[in-house]
């Protein structure tokens, strides 16, 4: 199984070890963003995706999560 984001081998999380770490960081940082700016998860993903300080792999994971949520939203609507 390959990683949801790149062509590396993935583990049971669906991510390779490198992108998994980015995913963990994204989830962990949301609490600080919510406290500071009172923003939703979707807004948060948009913000970190366009922030020039966000790391390349974290941006890739954020894009993947945004795309996934769009698909989920389409399914429910």
């Amino acid at each position: 199984m390959t990683c949801k984001v790149c062509s590396r081998e993935a583990d049971e999380t669906g991510y390779c070890d490198l992108h998994y770490k980015a995913h963990v960081n994204i989830v962990k940082a949301y609490a600080a963003w919510k406290k500071g700016l009172n923003i939703s998860w979707d807004e948060y993903l948009k913000e970190i995706k366009r922030n020039c300080l966000t790391g390349e792999w974290a941006k890739q994971v954020a894009s993947h999560l945004m795309k996934n949520e769009e698909i989920e939203n389409d399914k429910t609507s």
């Binding site: 490198l18 770490k21 790391g55 974290a58």
Partner: protein, 556 residues
């Protein structure tokens, strides 16, 4: 014979006081280091190179070693935290006020603030209020002279001041040593023994136009006592100038490094610099702001080390406790936490020194090898796909090779040989035993390792040829391609041969093309560097109708 400079006097003295025997334990320790490094390097590098070749059929030199592996791991760990970094927002509040026709900015004492609402609330409570000086504190601080140069600190300073790589600085210092202008540079010592003759060196320097007045000022002191550092090397003292003046025209780099060594040598004999810091607390309603200033009272050693040191003085007008101040503005500024900084050749060298990886003579060469293998690129070091994969493979199958503990353990054992508590033979046998376990594990996993490394090599090769993202289809990358009909090269989209995107740009047909990974300031198209034999290299915007070019493609 033992000597640290190539001046005729020191060579003659060394010859007259020759040691009766060679230092055999030092030789044994040196040989053990060479043999262990060779054994590790040759076997591990071969294992990686062969694994990749067997899988892809294509030869690429891959290497690792006792010091190279742990060094690359530091870089990969840092790269990982940069690429996975998620910034966190925070806010800072500052108050600006005018005093004596100048504007000053004081920082809120509880910066940084976690929430935007809290920051805005602080600004609101301060608006339209006057400030009152609550406290004014001043403190004198002594800044000691820096220790004399060992090779590492010379390389770091040359990078800070002139952006010279450690390898380049070593080469320049070596030339200055061969010209008898400075002492032996491959030293980790930060001490200057009295036997080098401080006074004689300064007397020689006193005759020069450039350094004369500084040397004469030091000679007027009742006692010459150098400031020394912790570093000690039994073989050589710290780097110092011989006092001899160059008998040939030095090039810019040689002149700069020589001047740096001379000025540092003089600075270590000077007094401490005395600085005064002033901290004022200003209350605005219920909030407090602080203003910090700094002023040099006595230059001390900084006078001798100019222009390589600046005092960064920041002086504000005299404030008195209870004084009322008109606040011009109070503002909240939104900011983000920053990722850790990238290593550069100088900070990496410092890290290697701290972790006791390699020796003063080998560290610069190891950094260069990492560049040569294309494991890392750019001055602010970026780890490539291949660099990452080498670390991942070694971490997965033989993590010991990446551990700085293993290499430090071997270093200690080598010191034991020097102390005659260990023999070279026993240490070599132990090293071979460890190595055999590692190589057999690598052999067992050869197909998997080969697959991982080949994928990374392929991606790295594509990355090297990539000029930018295709602006037309936005899914492909612009790379250097060759026409199937004519064999001519051009920049085209990776979807070009799939017939889904026809975006293409012409290229000169001779010379080497290297993507610059930046865009043209005029039209925003990617740029490449062209290297043609016998000509200066030149930068080319791939857009043939770029506004910067004249008709015919040449730059205006």
């Amino acid at each position: 014979m033992k000597y640290s400079t190539l001046t005729p006097e020191e060579i003659q003295e060394s010859y007259a006081n020759m040691s009766p025997t060679l230092d055999f334990s030092l030789i044994e320790a040196g040989l053990a280091r060479h043999e262990i490094d060779w054994l590790y390097g040759v076997n591990l590098s071969r294992a990686l190179t062969q694994a990749a070749k067997k899988h892809s059929g294509r030869y690429t030199t891959l290497s690792t070693g006792r010091v190279q592996g742990p060094t690359l791991k530091f870089l990969a760990t840092r790269e990982l935290s940069i690429r996975n970094f998620v910034p966190i927002p925070y806010w800072t509040v500052s108050a600006t006020f005018g005093l004596d026709h100048s504007v000053f900015e004081a920082a809120y004492e509880k910066n940084p603030i976690d929430t935007k609402a809290e920051a805005n609330a602080i600004v609101k409570t301060c608006m339209g209020k006057k400030g009152t000086v609550r406290t004014v504190e001043s403190q004198k601080i002594l800044i000691n002279p820096p220790p004399p140069f060992d090779l590492g600190s010379l390389q770091n300073e040359a990078y800070r001041l002139f952006k010279y790589t450690p390898m380049f600085t070593l080469k320049v210092a070596q030339r200055l040593y061969l010209d008898a202008l400075i002492s032996y540079p491959r030293t980790s010592c930060q001490r200057l023994p009295i036997s080098i003759g401080y006074k004689t060196i300064l007397q020689k320097l006193a005759k020069s136009d450039e350094h004369g007045r500084f040397a004469r000022a030091l000679l007027a002191k009742p006692e010459l006592k150098p400031k020394e550092g912790k570093g000690f090397d039994p073989a050589h003292p710290a780097i110092y100038p011989t006092g001899t003046r160059p008998d040939r025209m030095l090039n810019t780099a040689e002149r700069r490094i020589w001047n740096l060594v001379v000025r540092r040598f003089m600075a270590v004999f000077a007094e401490s610099s005395i600085q005064q810091t002033i901290k004022a607390t200003i209350a605005v309603h219920i909030n407090e702001f602080t203003l910090t200033g700094r002023q040099t009272i006595e230059e001390g050693w900084m006078h001798f080390y100019k222009p390589f040191v600046h005092s960064n003085d920041f002086v504000f007008p005299r404030l008195v406790k209870g004084q009322e101040i008109d606040i011009e503005n109070v503002a909240a500024q939104g900011e983000f936490t920053k990722p850790p900084p990238r290593y550069n050749p100088s900070s990496l060298l410092k890290k290697m020194q701290k972790e006791k990886l390699g020796t003063k003579a080998t560290r610069a060469g190891i950094i260069q090898t990492l560049y040569d293998r294309k494991y890392i690129t750019q001055e602010k070091i970026v780890v490539t796909e291949v660099g990452f994969e080498v670390v991942r493979v070694l971490h997965q199958y033989c993590p010991d090779v990446l551990s700085s503990k293993l290499t430090a353990k071997l270093e200690d054992a080598m010191s034991e040989i020097q102390e005659k508590n260990e023999t070279r033979q026993i240490l070599l046998e132990r090293a071979i035993e460890i190595l055999q376990t590692i190589t057999s594990r690598l052999k067992e996993q050869e197909p998997a390792i080969g697959k991982q490394l080949s994928r990374a090599l392929k991606e790295s090769r594509l990355e090297e040829l990539t000029v930018g993202t295709c602006p037309i289809c936005k899914t492909g990358k612009l790379v250097v391609l060759h026409s199937k009909k004519t064999g001519k090269r051009f920049v085209g989209c990776t979807n070009y041969f799939k017939n889904t995107c026809a975006n293409a740009f012409p290229l000169p047909q001779s010379g080497v093309v290297k993507p610059l990974h930046n865009v043209c300031a005029s039209c925003g198209s990617p740029t490449v560097q062209i290297y043609q034999k016998g000509k200066h290299s030149w930068k080319l915007c791939i857009n043939p109708v770029c506004g910067k070019k004249q008709p015919g493609g040449k730059a205006k």
